[in-house]
Amino acid sequence: MNIVIKLASGFMGLFDVGAATFIGWVTGIVPKVLLLLILMNSIIALIGQERINKFAKVCSGNVILAYGILPFLAAFMLGNPMALSMGKFLPERMKPSYYAAASYHCHTNSGIFNHINPGEIFIYLGIASGIQTLGLDMTELGLRYMLVGFIANFMSGWATDFTTKIVMKQQGIELSNEMPQ
């Protein structure tokens, strides 16, 4: 009998630990993310997609703008996955590189700006919750994640320019370097 009781209480214990974690997140994280989401949705609605598109066209002329600034702002304003759509203003040859940079930007910036990638936030939040448990400020981690990410993502985007050249040679396909109309 004792074994049965132990098993039963052990089984329910699994849910106690999980439930405590869940409540901690729902009360601690959800309200903050929700308010941030509301503000961001409003700002985007007020600025309007057209003005964002115009800006994207300006960025296509320069690699730092195209793989650094543009994906950063696109991630901030549009979030995952719509940030990836801003690649449409770049020449075909730059699109893979933009993708490489922008998809990373949807992660590295999500530490500070939770609204960017709510579906995949636990990459950051999982690790950051450990920092929180220790009683340290997770903002410092989020900020460094974003800043280091900015450099690393630009590097990842630019490196893709080279791999694209290699693959083009391999497959015998030549992608256009012309600006889209």
Binding site: G18, T21, W25, V30, L37, E120, I121, S129, I131
Partner: protein, 339 residues
């Protein structure tokens, strides 16, 4: 001209949506599958047999949307499950996933069915008409119509506002309030559809991992890899290996679980908090590798660009994987020092 037949697909155990009746027609005759690792799913063979269509691996080859009559995905509910419904292409999800992810509002019963296995695919009995192109176009037109109607409303508002200062203020305030209110509704939807379900799932996982002692066992396995920078470099390297990176990608689920486990160990003091930054880079070197064709599709890339872009991004992830972890390590100097 091949002879095509219609099929009806109903939802499976725990599934959502459907039944869908589809039939390949004319140029619109391709079945596209975008599933983990690019392997052909079991149900594809049955659909080919019943309809006489052509199957295409969406990871390898890009197909123009207008040639796709049906799409098979295996999304866990983060993102991909909404992409094709958004384009109004009939979608089968092998996983039993309902309205979920940032594109949840596009996942509707008339275009999406999930939890599907071979048992749910039957030849159509003729009682339901196949989803036709005309029907697929309809909502688009409706949306565009709404948009232009909306524009006119704002235009009229603009011209009216010129007439009086008070009216201008009233209109402006009304517009701002309405914008914020709509934004709030959308945000609440995102929380309910995406964030809270995932929190529940991860919490349950944490409960089981912590409570069962599995966590301690796994942490011992993980600790040599995550407890020091060399191990993190190895972890980052493994995650970035082309092909493997595609398998680890979907929904970032694996990265999120590993992240949570590392977080638990940091909280216990087994891993130094300063390693949290390089760890963030190490567990995510495979970022979005599974998503390249769809992501490039969002950027309106040509089929050739997708052909080149998929291997190109996989290679560049591989090349930059380790340097990213090193950058993270350099960036972590002084992080949480002396606390």
């Amino acid at each position: 001209m091949a002879d095509y037949r219609a099929i009806t697909i109903t939802k499976g155990n725990g599934g959502f949506g459907g039944p869908l009746t589809v039939k390949p027609e004319g140029k619109k005759n391709k079945l596209i599958y975008i599933t983990a690792g690019g392997a052909e799913p079991d149900i594809a063979a049955k659909i080919i047999e019943l309809t006489g269509c052509e199957a295409v691996n969406g990871f390898k080859t890009a197909v123009p949307d207008e040639e796709v009559f049906l799409c098979i995905i295996d999304c866990g509910g983060t993102l991909r499950c909404g992409i094709y419904p958004q384009k109004r292409i009939p979608t089968i999800n092998i996983n039993p996933v309902g309205k979920s992810g940032p594109l949840a509002k596009y996942i509707t019963e008339d275009i999406y069915v999930s939890g599907v296995t071979n048992a749910q695919i039957q030849p159509a009995d003729g009682s339901a008409a196949p989803i036709s192109e005309a029907k697929a176009e309809e909502p688009k037109e409706e949306r565009e119509f709404k948009y232009s109607a909306d524009k006119k409303v704002s235009e009229t508002m603009g011209t009216q506002a010129k007439s009086s200062f008070i009216q201008k203020i009233g209109m402006g305030a009304g517009k701002v309030v309405a914008t914020f209110n709509t934004a709030a509704k959308e945000a609440v939807q995102t929380c309910i559809n995406t964030i809270i379900p995932f929190m529940g799932f991860v919490s349950l996982l944490i409960g089981i991992i912590q409570g069962s002692g599995f966590g301690d066992w796994f942490a011992k396995l993980l600790q040599p890899l995550c407890g020091n920078i060399i191990g993190l470099l190895i972890l980052g390297f493994i995650c970035s290996i082309p092909f493997l990176s595609c398998l680890l990608g979907p929904g970032a689920v694996i990265a999120q679980i590993v992240g949570t486990l590392i977080g638990v160990e940091i909280g216990k003091g087994n891993i130094d908090p300063s390693l949290s930054l390089p760890a963030l880079f190490a567990i995510n070197t495979q970022c979005a590798c599974d998503f390249v064709p769809v992501g490039l599709g969002l950027a309106e890339a040509d089929p050739e660009t997708v052909e080149v872009g998929v291997p190109s991004v996989l290679y560049s992830r591989f090349l930059t994987g380790i340097p990213r972890v090193i950058l993270g390590y350099i960036g972590s100097i002084g992080l949480y020092a002396g606390k």
